[in-house]
Symmetry: D2
């Protein structure tokens, strides 16, 4: 860190700061200018709380010069991480689309939505069995039955499966069904959960909390990485701002920022990011144009009767059209969105 | 809810909205004006997602007219709730102060900090044994050993004890040590945890998440209340805003707002709310002046060597002085801050 | 507006609310339900302050059902407005790019930047002569000399010109030089200025303030429209949020939102919206993919020596590449970015 | 500033950074650590844009070590500024209360409100003649007639007068009537206006914009100070956050922060800060308890019929009670709120 002393700081105050830094394990470089003294503290102490120095007399400001995360940073690993899920490469040239219903509701709904996802070119089925709901009176998900329905539909349509894990106690159950664990925005700082997922042997998709900085998102990824699980996918899904017309403000600029700071793939969820069906397509296009590695989109075979989040779920025909638009956009940044041979036949007829 | 149609909405569109509302279980009142039709939907369906109506053609806006929480609202219970912890009445005329170290570190630290808390007039010892830390490389707390130290110190000094529970799996352990469970800001929407605490038989202090609206805080309380545990204390501890000089922006106005909307006691944590020791006293005074039912303050016998959050912990002498200032302020709003007989002798000598 | 009474509201309280509404000029419809009374107030009183009703005893909530703006709304004018500047149609099928330096600095800089703008397909030259600067010690612009340089460069390269007007007293001077007046983000609520521009006979581009809601942006446009000037272009340029990695958070979702609420064209300024050159291209692509009617981009012939905002200005070669990418993206949403015949020859050599 | 290089930065990249800093007029100190190089740049160049260095290859981060303001900082002037308005000392031991109607409406209203302000212990009459309104359809103020009414009422009741100036062209007119110029929140960055007020010979009260950082507020004050007018009063009036229950979130912590960074007096406006009458008293008490030098409060003889902001104006009796509460609180921090002899007789009877 760098400690900037006040202009009027005494020599005694400077010495106390130096002593504190040495006690914290830093090498100290002092630089005395005409107006003020600046002290550089070099070391590898990610645990140090800079506020302990900030509070000393004569200190004007303390500036951190190291990110608090390590394994998640591009400095640690310059080349981009590819997360492999079967033969799907997440973080490579292809933009990967995960889509499906907010919640699994019944066999027909899951199966026909999965068919729509496959037909349009989605590679991974998304769907919730355990739902974190703001109100205790809302539908809370089907639990294990939902996982069974989702797995069966994914198998039937040759899709991979991602689903949310809400609590460390659910990991063992989900492991039997999913290909990717999803950590929801409200759980982004559930450190008990993240630590356990660090020991899991399947990829983890971590969603950004609605008030989390990008740095905090990377620190949450660091919990998983530090546990030994290097297959982490990040996901922007909207931040809370003063603007209330949209549910959240989807932070598209997080895409290039994450790609500069970290080697991990970055996805975008335009469904939760906007909360309104008619805003999903424009924001999905924007995400791909800005360079996102993939999308997480809510599609429902009958949104008007969905048990949760129907208002932000696309109809299958809207999803088809969106995928067609994305195929035009992706090449602008040297990427592609593939279409399965069978799907290619079906789509557009 | 109230559905406002667009000025140009057709009769057919109005009929579709009415049909949807009836299907959702509402009684419908239609009011056709010169410019537009407004439809009132009356019913007791807290689960309904208004966005399902918002998406229909011809709908201009949907307005909710019922709060999504019930048990937490002052409409449900007009008189203020008093939470009794032994002979301490939380939510009554006396302003209750909970104070202590961020984390329990060792016996001497816990014991001498508890003595300072008691001497100045604090009634409840606070201290963490399990610490949620943004970075996986930070000190994570002593665990059960910490709880033992805190309980012993509370007993020795005739204080009650509040400590944080991070995960539903920890409730059973904490029950043996604490008088009040604390749910941290990052866990405010850990619904698994809240639901389990609804079955607990001790009071629960729920901290507002840094990006939670007041309505969301009350919904989290509703999870506990709906489980049958009516002893909930709310706590404001700062929200995230664009201003970066302070760690968070302590939302003092949340105090009168909560008191209007809900019957539950509202506390303020000026230590986490500001993140800086020199801002704790002004904000603690402001909270009491605005009508807070109590405070949660970090005090440490030796803040400069604290293992966590030392920079925002008060020295015992600062805490003494603050309590003296608060005793002047409380009567301005018809409240008091009591002093134990033994403490009264010690303090001010 | 709709007035929702409290569940326990008395008949007397209901009558007082009705009397107040009638006094404010509304027609009143009362709807008494099992739990509560809801009162609909219909009228055309955009001046009424709903808080006057909100404060009455027994009132639970007051809900507004009319937007406070009229001329700016799509209800008033369903078809999209096309702003014509010479033969350039803003708001039509073509995505229009305005580009140029932050400030005019000298003849060579303005002239060579204008050449680069033209060559890449830009239609309108942007550049500041009067600069609003947060610090009184920063470069404040060349004034009229800057306008002369910009006009000469625009003429030489067959471009139109947009430049910022900071104060009502400058309108007369700018009128002699510019084709479009720009109102900066800090002046979005300078109502004296907006009112005067309502009397001007040239188009006005109004930038969204960094903390302005979309509704407030439309109300600022309403000031110009209400004065009789119907040629208003809106511009999103980033809002202030808690995320501090980027200077502001560019609100891409404002594009589809504005297009739903209003008939006015909506532009995006990715240069001010991000504050960093390496984030301009991704966000410009995102804006076009989301449906923006145009872009406002800072380009400088030598950004490293710019007197202001060099760090967010593109090099000419970067601008060329970006325009090529945008030409791939625009057709995905049925739009185009044209290239002048002469420019087409020059570009890509 | 301090330039932190990337861990992998080459010697060539370091040399380019040094060259750029020297060209910008800095003295350069280089410190090469095991992991990375840190370059200190010392100088007095407040105009330099750190982003010009940030964009160079190999640069990890650039940290500013000097505040961009000078005359407003406590480093420049360690003792607190007292602004004298007649015999009233603003910034001294006494907490000064400015109160009155949002807008001057007619003689009776202004006169009887002024009487109420005086009786309760207010020292300065506030009231608007020119009103900045978000909607062009709202009441815009009485103009000069309003100033005449306010001046007459102030004289009659031996009060000083503060009123808002919206535009540089109005300064000359206001000078004939007011004792203090008020710059509204929306004009906090109207630099033309601020620069002109730097040449005025009366104090200026600058309100914080709803999205302005404290640093930006101090920079706006710097515009006035740099023009030679050293009598500046700052005023917190609420910032825009995600919480929508209150109109704005009053940032009480800005009080101690401003007092640490600057020597200028800091006031609080709880009326605009909350937008609701029932929240004004708690927040006014909180502001005084936190150490504010004064308050700006809306009082109206008949709030229910006010032409603007009636919903946030106190009734005279509420204002009386609030002043009595504040007199209890002020001594807790060594301050007082005086009562005129004549007023003392009237009050409390």
């Amino acid at each position: 860190m760098v400690v900037v002393m006040e202009e009027r700081a005494s020599e005694d105050q400077v010495q106390k700061v130096i002593a504190q830094l040495v006690e914290m394990g830093y090498d100290v470089h002092r630089s005395t200018g005409a107006l003020r003294t600046v002290i550089g503290a070099v070391g590898n102490n990610r645990k140090a709380d800079p506020r302990l120095v900030e509070m000393l007399d004569g200190v004007h400001e303390v500036l951190r010069i190291t990110e608090p995360y390590k394994l998640a940073s591009r400095t640690f690993r310059p080349e981009s991480t590819i997360v492999n899920v079967g033969d799907i490469r997440i973080g490579g040239d292809e933009v990967i689309v995960m889509a499906g219903p907010c919640s699994a509701e019944n066999e027909q709904q899951v199966m026909s939505t999965a068919a729509a996802v496959k037909r349009a070119g989605g590679k991974i089925l998304r769907g919730g069995a355990f739902k974190p709901r703001t109100s205790p009176y809302s539908f809370q998900g089907l639990g294990e039955e939902g996982l069974q329905l989702l797995r069966a539909a994914a198998n039937e349509h040759n899709l991979k499966l991602v689903s949310e894990v809400m609590d460390a106690s659910q990991i063992e159950l989900l492991e039997r069904y999913v290909d990717i664990y999803q950590v929801g925005a409200r759980n982004m700082q559930n450190f008990t959960l993240l630590r356990e997922l660090g020991r899991a042997r399947k990829p983890v998709l971590v969603k950004r909390g609605i008030s989390a900085t990008i740095e905090e998102l990377l620190l949450s990824a660091e919990y998983v990485l530090a546990g030994g699980n290097m297959e982490v996918i990040l996901c922007e899904r909207g931040i809370r701002t003063f603007e209330s017309y949209t549910r959240n403000t989807l932070d598209i600029s997080a895409i290039p920022v994450v790609q500069k700071l970290s080697h991990l793939p970055i996805f975008v969820d335009p469904s939760h990011g906007t909360g309104r069906r008619d805003k999903v397509a424009p924001m999905a296009r924007a995400a791909v144009a800005a360079g996102a590695d993939g999308l997480l989109i809510e599609v429902h075979c009958d949104p008007d009767h969905a048990l949760s989040d129907g208002a932000q779920s696309l109809f299958p025909a809207q999803f088809d059209r969106l995928m067609a638009e994305l195929r035009i956009i992706a090449p602008a940044i040297g990427r592609s969105i593939c279409l399965e041979p069978v799907a290619r036949r079906g789509w557009g007829q």
